[in-house]
Point group: C2
Chain length 482, copies 2
């Protein structure tokens, strides 16, 4: 392990709502929380990649208030590290320039000379060592008061990325960094081909490195309205002896223009340098991006999960436990989840968002939640919902403890199918063992705990005219949800 860089802060942007990987991504389970490629979810990979390069208390997650709790729960599996990670919560989503500005305000108050490494939470970077080695180079540029960005050397005429134009023969003053001439929008295929052969065009990775003081002075210069509002926000956040004013914060943040850091700052600043990244990178912008990061079989297919394929070519079949059988597909994507399946030609994957829009418009649920929902204490899976009942499998990690709660409109039967449950029901507390059951009447305070050292699984049969999640009153919760 190299020496920790105490003045460097990792700012991880995790505000994405992720419709592009539907049906695997959902509103409550955006792309960064998916394990699409590699050994862990994208956001946990992002954290693990930078941890050790900077101290854990220098890792910041920037996300919106409504997503923060789910992400916090999601990170708990990182163990003690998770407790040290800090959150910067936007009152609502307002694109990357305000989000990064808000982070800069926080860090600048903490230490004016700190360096920010701004990273999306949902990109694939398989080789952490190469990334960190390039990062060291970029920090040298940031220390010289430059805005530094990573460009990725293209290996194909990609039309899905923006490009950065440099002149490889014009070295910047800092070792290994190149002066950026301009940023270029996503090109057409012919242009992308010319970029590929030119050699001076790099993919815009969306990873940025700079001093907090420098980015704030650039925001002041190029986005003065944003700067002014950020200063007002700062005065509320950091003035001592002042009451915190969440409504005022929300009002101020809402007033901000939704603008990206690329468009607002990077394209306008004269002080931008680029490091040519030596690491493999993908922004995983759509299902077809898997072709870049997952090894294909001899027919060009990526087959994951419970699949049987006969003679398909260049196709992606992503399944879970259900069987997906495919024959003779060509350039297709098939994605299966417990409650929804998507079938789409590769050339149209960008239109997945239209399905999500349709689901929203029709008041459906398949874009919101998965059947299995992660909770801080474990998870639950909705096995079936019918007229007057709902059946869940509830999984509690060892030591986990649900909130003390009550339902106004449903009773619950619990059957323990593995492990041992500790049940509180009004004034009594008792154990329920595997193959035993208990009953929680309507309007009865209750609590479920796993006192054992193995996973507890119960089957919960809810009875009632109304069996939705929001029929819950919490009285005490070790996860702070009362």
């Amino acid at each position: 392990m190299t020496q920790l860089l105490n003045n460097v802060h990792a700012v991880i942007l995790a505000g994405g709502s992720g419709t592009r990987f539907w049906p695997l991504s959902r509103e409550t389970c955006p792309k960064q929380m998916l394990q699409i490629v590699g050994e862990d979810t994208l956001i946990r990979q992002t954290i693990k990649r930078i941890n050790g390069f900077v101290p854990p208390e220098n890792i910041w997650i920037v996300t919106t208030e409504d997503k923060a709790q789910d992400i916090k729960f999601h990170l708990e599996s990182l163990g003690p590290l998770a407790k040290k990670i800090q959150f910067i919560k936007e009152p609502l989503g307002r694109n990357t320039a305000p989000a990064i500005g808000l982070a800069a305000i926080y860090l600048n108050n903490l230490s004016p000379d700190s360096i920010m490494v701004v990273m999306p939470s949902d990109h694939a970077i398989p080789d952490a060592q190469k990334f960190l080695s390039d990062l060291k180079v970029s920090i040298e540029g940031a220390e010289e008061d430059y805005l530094v960005t990573f460009g990725i050397k293209p290996n194909r005429p990609e039309t899905g990325y923006g490009y950065i134009k440099v002149d490889k023969n014009t070295k910047a003053g800092v070792n290994g960094l190149l002066k950026v001439e301009r940023f270029v929008e996503k090109p057409g295929l012919q242009t992308a081909k010319s970029y590929l052969s030119d050699g001076n065009y790099f993919w815009n990775s969306g990873i940025f490195i700079w001093k907090t003081s420098k980015i704030l002075s650039e925001i002041k210069k190029h986005l003065p309205t944003l700067y002014k509002t950020l200063k007002e926000i700062e005065s509320i956040l950091f003035e001592p002896n002042k009451l915190n004013k969440p409504n005022k914060l929300k009002e101020l943040y809402s007033s901000l223009e939704s603008i990206s850091i690329d468009y607002g700052i990077m394209e306008r600043s004269a002080d931008v340098l680029m490091v040519a990244g030596t690491f493999q990178w993908s922004d995983l912008g759509s299902w077809t991006a898997l072709d870049e990061v997952i090894e294909k079989d001899d027919s060009g297919n990526i087959l994951k999960g419970n699949t049987i394929d006969i003679g398909s070519q260049n196709s992606i079949v992503f399944s879970g436990e259900r069987l997906v059988a495919t024959i003779g597909l060509k350039d297709m994507v098939v994605v299966d989840t417990p409650d929804a399946t998507l079938v789409i030609p590769k050339e149209r994957v960008q239109e997945v968002r239209k399905i999500v829009e349709t689901l929203k418009k029709n008041g459906r649920e398949e874009h919101l939640l998965h059947k299995t929902v992660e909770r801080p204490w474990g998870s639950y899976t909705v096995l079936e919902k019918g007229n007057g009942y709902k059946i869940k499998r509830v999984v509690l990690s060892p030591g986990a403890k649900l909130s003390l709660q009550l339902h106004r409109k449903r009773s619950e039967h619990w059957v323990v199918v593995s492990g041992e449950a500790k049940v509180t029901r009004e004034n009594e507390t008792y154990l329920v063992h595997t193959n035993e059951s208990t009953y929680i009447p309507i309007n009865t305070k209750h609590r479920l705990e796993n006192p054992g050292e193995v996973v507890l699984q119960i089957i919960e049969v809810q009875n009632g005219d109304y069996v939705e999640e929001n029929d819950i009153e919490r009285f005490d919760d070790i996860y702070g949800r009362t």
Copy 2:
């Protein structure tokens, strides 16, 4: 209603195992038991179509012994009619010539002059009136000791059917019937086009009408070995004062050559006439046959169930309760069931059997059973099977009564979610109401009944190391399954 034809018997062939409509068809739920088109399942439609033309006790189902009980249960919804339908059980499947020969032996013993109408159980014939009207004509030919078959006038150059060649200018002796010149195998596209324009070629419908005495004499002539064995079978089946010998029957039937009636008799006989059917007909030979029998939308699609489609063309999407979202498909078939999904181009639907073969070879279950299984008392749905447990929703029709039974390796928790259950547990009998539960320990005789007039639904949580269906000992069963 026309007058019942008491000397006419409807012989419905229902031995098909149905892999072509996988994943909707399963070994225990073959094509004839699916409601693919029309208001009921294909076999029930077949029975309803002929009922009233012949008396109910003249309706015979020919199927294999292992399928007979499931079909019997499946027909129960036909009410009193179901009780009158008779079964002819083949010891095992041996193609249509032996099956029809066996039926002829039965009917010939009953009444030597009877006429058989042989019909597959899994074809689509939307207009029963036209069919019955053509059937009357065909019976006139059968009465004159001809083998009569229905030919269907082609409306497209179909390469999936066999053809019958007639000469329209050569009328047979019987009104409206045409002398058959020959039977033709499935043609290539060019040949099929020439057949279409020729006008003397008809699709071979697989529906036959003849006297039992006539078909037996034709079998004697063209398939003498089959005839000899059928006579041996007859001597066992109908000799009085002889013990029934199921093993001997099975041995004899197994020895028969697996040969179709078309190849064995129709192509060889000189006495074949054809009625040009005026009814719409499809043998529903594959998923693409739906294009012929179901109305398509403006883009040529058939979308059924919980689907969202954007811009697909000439595609079939068959879903149930799960969501299937499709974008931009062209000439594709997508079929979704609770435990398996199929995605296949129309031009390759014949290869579905390869998937079924793969499942068999790998010892999988997705070709055998659906998650929901029809039983004579209602149905059950497997909601989840895990390590040491299985969860089912069990639905009992009013008045239904499961067998008195016992499990050696599992206990069961029952939660009533609608209706009222009557439970027998060893020597006690008690009621369990909605939102109440009960427990059946391992090795405990028990019985579940629905004493009420509404449907009873219970959630059953099985606990045990072994939770398969075959852990059941039945002591008493109103459906004769002990």
